[in-house]
Symmetry: C5
Subunit: 126 residues, 5 copies
């Protein structure tokens, strides 16, 4: 956590983690009362309890027209590829994660970034 003595500029960095199971979507849509939010996806990983089949992680977000768009962000299988790095795939809310295939559980982790200072935006970053 960053203390009170920090500069108000730039995003604050928090930890994000969620678990996907078949039929259990995970929504990323924080209230923007407390600033502008972004998710920098880092890792998608299987669990020892994950069945040995291909698991496909689908992300639903918005395209340039503001319409919903689906994209596959990872395909994993415990005995072949138990972890995959997404390398900082930046997601602007609202977004939904779901398993397109496989029963899970699948773990997703990343950085939840919050921009407090409205004089700046994430667009300047990266």
């Amino acid at each position: 956590m960053n203390g009170m003595d920090m500069e108000p500029i730039g995003p604050q960095n928090y930890l994000y983690g969620c678990e996907l199971k078949a039929g259990k979507d995970v929504i990323f849509n924080p209230s923007d009362d407390d600033g502008e939010h972004q998710l920098s996806l880092r890792m998608v990983c299987v669990d020892p309890s994950t069945k040995d089949e291909l698991h496909v992680v689908e992300l639903e977000g918005r395209d340039t027209e503001g319409e919903p768009v689906k994209a596959v962000v990872a395909t994993l299988k415990p005995s072949t590829l138990p972890s995959v790095c997404l390398g900082g795939f930046e997601i602007t809310p609202p977004a939904v994660f779901r398993l397109k295939s496989g029963s899970g559980p699948i773990h997703i982790s990343g950085q939840h970034l919050v921009m407090m200072d409205t004089d700046q935006s994430f667009d300047e970053e990266d």
Copy 2:
């Protein structure tokens, strides 16, 4: 989606996803009426329905002379490497994705970035 209270500087970040099949090219060539476009490629993934053979994803873009150039950006096989991270491979349109080998489907995902402010360009980013 970023709201009206955002700064007009820097690129807007949208989700991009497409699916490749043999003989079905995907073109990325958005109209630049609404700004300057760029694609930051993140992941290439197989599907449970993808046949277990090597799939080669080819990208056609432009070289420094403005001539078409082809480049292989991923080779995947469901039983060996079901996902591969491209790590933010930046593509300036026009670009065409196609399967050089394999019947698909193969999923591509990334960030579709749009620079609204003509006083800045992507060239300043990254």
Copy 3:
């Protein structure tokens, strides 16, 4: 090490390494007397002495509410995936690493960044 002739701006870069074993958590919570700290996670790797089972590395940090949150950052198995790149997963202390599954040892490495200059913050970086 950077010498006295260096600019006081920006973070100083040090090496970070730790080893996880079952039941032996590793805490990253440096005193901020000497500046603001951040960890840029780079690699998670097995050891030749690591048993051939799935090892799940869990990270505990803070979410946007300041509450503890757990995230899986890597799942490895010596015979399948002996190393995985985290690609600069940025962690703000306090944070705890532990093995959620597997007996270890598992090695974690990265860059320990220290921001000396309080007129800047990590938020401006990256």
Copy 4:
């Protein structure tokens, strides 16, 4: 392609692709009449016609003394690791790619960046 209405600052982004075979080196040494050049290596991939043996991609560039130096940038095998991400390995010309082992073909792709504005340099980027 970026149009005439673009800012002259920062690098222009083009696609780069080449194919390596045993005994057939590929040289990256564009004329700098039209600006300063850099190659951001992204992916190295096998082809379905690539023999199932270890292929080692060697890069020859210059060290800090201006002397030729060789570095291995990827080792691939179709049945083990058909693609590997280089994550933006930045190469300043002149550079030569060759197969140190294996008969190929091996595909290399990346971004060819050209800095037109001599008042800036790549050194400021990244």
Copy 5:
């Protein structure tokens, strides 16, 4: 190589490559007479002559107290994972690479960056 007409700001980019064998450490500790040095590690790769066993690459650097610290940066095996991307793991000299396990050879490659201009530092970069 960057010519005389370049701006003196920012780091110069050179190629780095070394080979590790059991009992043969590689030291990265360039004289800083000619500027400030940094190593951006990109790839660790096996060779066709590398024995099919787990190879563990250890890096020795300095922690925030200036004390020596060891970190495992890659674990490879020719038949499982012949190459691994380190994604730009930044190393400040002095540093030592060695094989903690395995007889090698193992190849390491990256970018050797030199900051000539003492009015800037690497701390501002990245």
